[in-house]
Symmetry: D2
Subunit: 347 residues, 4 copies
Amino acid sequence: MDKVRVSIAGGSGYGGGELLRLLLFHPHVEVLQATSERHAGQPVSRVHPNLRKQTQLQFAALADLQPCDLLFLALPHGEAVRQIDHFISLAQRIVDLSADFRLKRPEDYREWYHAEHPRPELLHEFVYGIPEIHRDQMRTARFVSSAGCNATAAILGLYPLYKHDLVSGPAIVEVMAGSSEGGNAASESSHHPERSNCLRSYKPTGHRHAAEVLQELPAGDGRSIHFSATSVDMVRGILATMHVFLKDDLEEREVWKIYRRAYADEPFVRIVKERDGNYRYPEPKLLAGTNFCDIGFERERGSRRLVVMSAIDNLMKGAAGQAVQAFNIMHGFPERTGLEFPGLHPI
Amino acid sequence: MDKVRVSIAGGSGYGGGELLRLLLFHPHVEVLQATSERHAGQPVSRVHPNLRKQTQLQFAALADLQPCDLLFLALPHGEAVRQIDHFISLAQRIVDLSADFRLKRPEDYREWYHAEHPRPELLHEFVYGIPEIHRDQMRTARFVSSAGCNATAAILGLYPLYKHDLVSGPAIVEVMAGSSEGGNAASESSHHPERSNCLRSYKPTGHRHAAEVLQELPAGDGRSIHFSATSVDMVRGILATMHVFLKDDLEEREVWKIYRRAYADEPFVRIVKERDGNYRYPEPKLLAGTNFCDIGFERERGSRRLVVMSAIDNLMKGAAGQAVQAFNIMHGFPERTGLEFPGLHPI
Amino acid sequence: MDKVRVSIAGGSGYGGGELLRLLLFHPHVEVLQATSERHAGQPVSRVHPNLRKQTQLQFAALADLQPCDLLFLALPHGEAVRQIDHFISLAQRIVDLSADFRLKRPEDYREWYHAEHPRPELLHEFVYGIPEIHRDQMRTARFVSSAGCNATAAILGLYPLYKHDLVSGPAIVEVMAGSSEGGNAASESSHHPERSNCLRSYKPTGHRHAAEVLQELPAGDGRSIHFSATSVDMVRGILATMHVFLKDDLEEREVWKIYRRAYADEPFVRIVKERDGNYRYPEPKLLAGTNFCDIGFERERGSRRLVVMSAIDNLMKGAAGQAVQAFNIMHGFPERTGLEFPGLHPI
Amino acid sequence: MDKVRVSIAGGSGYGGGELLRLLLFHPHVEVLQATSERHAGQPVSRVHPNLRKQTQLQFAALADLQPCDLLFLALPHGEAVRQIDHFISLAQRIVDLSADFRLKRPEDYREWYHAEHPRPELLHEFVYGIPEIHRDQMRTARFVSSAGCNATAAILGLYPLYKHDLVSGPAIVEVMAGSSEGGNAASESSHHPERSNCLRSYKPTGHRHAAEVLQELPAGDGRSIHFSATSVDMVRGILATMHVFLKDDLEEREVWKIYRRAYADEPFVRIVKERDGNYRYPEPKLLAGTNFCDIGFERERGSRRLVVMSAIDNLMKGAAGQAVQAFNIMHGFPERTGLEFPGLHPI
């Protein structure tokens, strides 16, 4: 089989580095170029030292980007939409990891990003990048907009409940996340003596990923989703803990059936719910480097609260891994291709 | 002034060790004895190495406990109530750090501890140990039952709201806690390779401290509080993030006034809410070794959700520090005595 | 090609789990059995949760072990030698991850393990398991004894220097290691509140792996190697920092040539020495899950000291990964087979 | 007693913050001013959030510094010497925490700092700031130059051995240190995803603190000290592991006597050497916030190697704490004044 020739615009960030790690080992991919303005001409392994002795590839400048079959965009937010026409001229297919094309309604973009979307007419050409929800559209899509990391964890955790209209009243989504979510640019808030040992409310309200959750969850009646994000002393990983109240007094095994039915055939969703041991619930510790989304839940006795837990690696299922999963779907490859790494224990 | 002669039954655990650290430096205290069955006859600094060169005190056996002015009980849950008559015969005053006498209604004990309380007639002789709520009773109390650590964080965070009946519908309390909360006994779940890097749902539902929160918060109408606990990779510290919906559309500065009024004169409660910097909200990282409870909040735009954050050191304001604060109140000492340590930054 | 049928005696520990992770994905391997007395009958993924949805394999009891082509022994030290005749009767080839057959001279075993070796006549049938030194013997070996993790890091770091007799006087080997090195059994010293944030002298002198280093390094004149081990707050990973004094005043590029020549064709040894950036020297952070040994060095100006740094993942190049590398050599497979994972950045 | 009126030039860094924490609670000190160019006019608690509700002090600009009794300089290296005449005009006594006046010989400064010292005539007016060595000079000193953090750990660990001329041949000093050593300025190397989980050779050779060690240790014959520094995932704390070879075959109890004699009356040096337990050797984990230097050692059987371990909190005994200790000596206060905090366990 001919290899798909791909390039990465924005290859020096954490998302770009993870794409490189995955694509360099993908059996059906040839990586043509990865760009970095700051590091153009340097080996990619200077910036991504895990790739030492794995590749001779050097960064190219964005201006030197050549035509390819599919272009991954891992640029800072705002850059993808600014140069989108150029990118479309270079590649028939695009997977954008930024937030630029995630929201489908221009008014949502205005509300959450406090600006007019520069190219609203393109929004609906980008399929929102969660395969478990939009797989069919992806098969024929030219453009995919990869989902936000926190949004991915929340949406996959809540989707079966909202799809079947089981939730009554507001849902609380509490996301705890590691520092790699903030990207590779150093700042006062990422300074190790300040960020280490932290347990820090990051966005108690107003997190932009909430807009994606609201967009993607089936509406039902009176849907009301409230998002908070907290930073923990971890590099990779997201745990979303979601609190909903059920319309009906479902028993745990009924909830179990709903999740099983929703995700039984999904290669990257696992229902995690064990009676004992250290790993009774989903946990990002186990997921570093993997594309899994682990989902668990627990019913509260004496109320209708259901607590749903959802864990991912923010750079994998929350970014590069999910993008490669979309890539596989777009090209008809088995979805697991290049994404088989099972994770480490202990770590 | 004559010193108060105190002893500690159960001095080898983390709570007992923290009591020793505080009481050995307390200007109005003479520590007579600290007991440990396993370490009887050994210097306390063998078990609490931070006390090296600070004291010559050795552990005594519980059977050798002598009469004293006030006895701190830092025994495993169930032990305090089992021997309570003996302890009462030894000391006129008792501060119990265990959960044995926290719940005032025997039916609550039955529901949450799945057993009949052995001495229900004593429950009301123990003042629930949060000074900010029960200071007046403490002044004349013989017995104080120190509050649970998670409960302390949640109660102090929510109290002003429930006192003024401002909350509508259910409240979600998400507590994130470090490993010292589990005590000093090694187990499979505390094994470093498993517990390190964890972000682990510990009690999504059913945490016993919820019973204390329900007991202590003023009832209002339709009070409904839902508690979850998550373990993070930290030794000391608790962050409680609480999500409530306000009856009225209060602005942030109105909420601010309510908290200011509630806690203005409190020596150990600080309202933390800054516009920028790393420490805009309460954070346990800053509180290691201190007796503070830092409280902050944020209104969500477009809904009536209020997010309240409350942070403590679980071994201090969540255990030994709060017990010494109660001790100070019981003896008419200034509340800050022996509790002045301001915490470290960075740490 | 027919698959090699392998089993693992002692599959529930960290070494056994890592073997399972590697072998289940190895293209030329069929895993027949993995044993665990405690977990017999349970899915291996109950103990190794990273293997959820990866395998249906269940643990067998050791007594139920069936004949196979190659048997990996990942038993507690002492168990392999105790039952070695039985294991030899089951499999033509054995790779033992324990320390039982590492030392070739019974007197060394006596000195370092304070006991007579039970089966000294077998010691020379086991090839010491560092492929970079014993590859040729491994090709035809029936038995391989996997090297100690700290010993592997130290030996690979120092080997080129001692091979060319470049060292004068004593060498100091300072090994810093994570907690997984201690295995999966909880203890007071592995209790998270005690082990977390630690920077703890573990074996300032007397570490048994020193015996392996002394055995494997070419003798030269006056060889004298002094080993210390320090525990750090990390789960996986070893950094060995080695201080030697050179006989001759070699420049850095001469040292470079010596290392390049020694390891140029090695698939799992990388010379790491960069002028700037965060990763100028070898670092275990980059190696989690990989089989690499990264080696770097630096000459001190004004003296003949050479500092050599060597980093590995203790469960991979220090245990299971190196065992699979040996397995590949024994069967003529390309050495990288099943060991291609490049590691994660950041992590 | 009248309080000593002190000010801090450079109060916004980690050293300055720690000085503020100590001096605000010091019974014989009145803090007049703390300067920060960037934060002038802001409350010091904005930058040092552990001081919230502890002080109303605001930062002043350096230009507004008023006369005081003693001036602490916690400025970036190079700034103290540049403005030293001005500082001398403001205060009769100065304690400088920077490296500007540590080295007594201009040629040492040239060698290690690669520049001519701007004011070599002042070097000998500054007493090198380790009280255990220079206490007598401090009593009458006008100026003290606080010792480097790594140097303090190494010098206190090795001093008794070199004083009695017990060492033969080269000594290896391996220092492991946390991130607060690097100060409060964010950089690529302090970015949390890169710095977290690190075990990173920082200065295998060429660390400037080596110059202080060479200066302060008694010369003996053939003294040769070789310094390396490694960064670990910790905020506060230094562990120095030192490897020396003894001239004579001293038994451990003889070594013990030497250390006991050297430090018996020292309020902040503890000999730590226990037979069992988690804390057999010195460990910085126990020392956060304290002014202790814990020292331990172990003889290697079969060689003359002695391993000496020395642990401190780099911001306390390695900086602000030792500076306050010097301050106490300069004013005839008991040395422990304001430095009594015993440290936390667990932490």
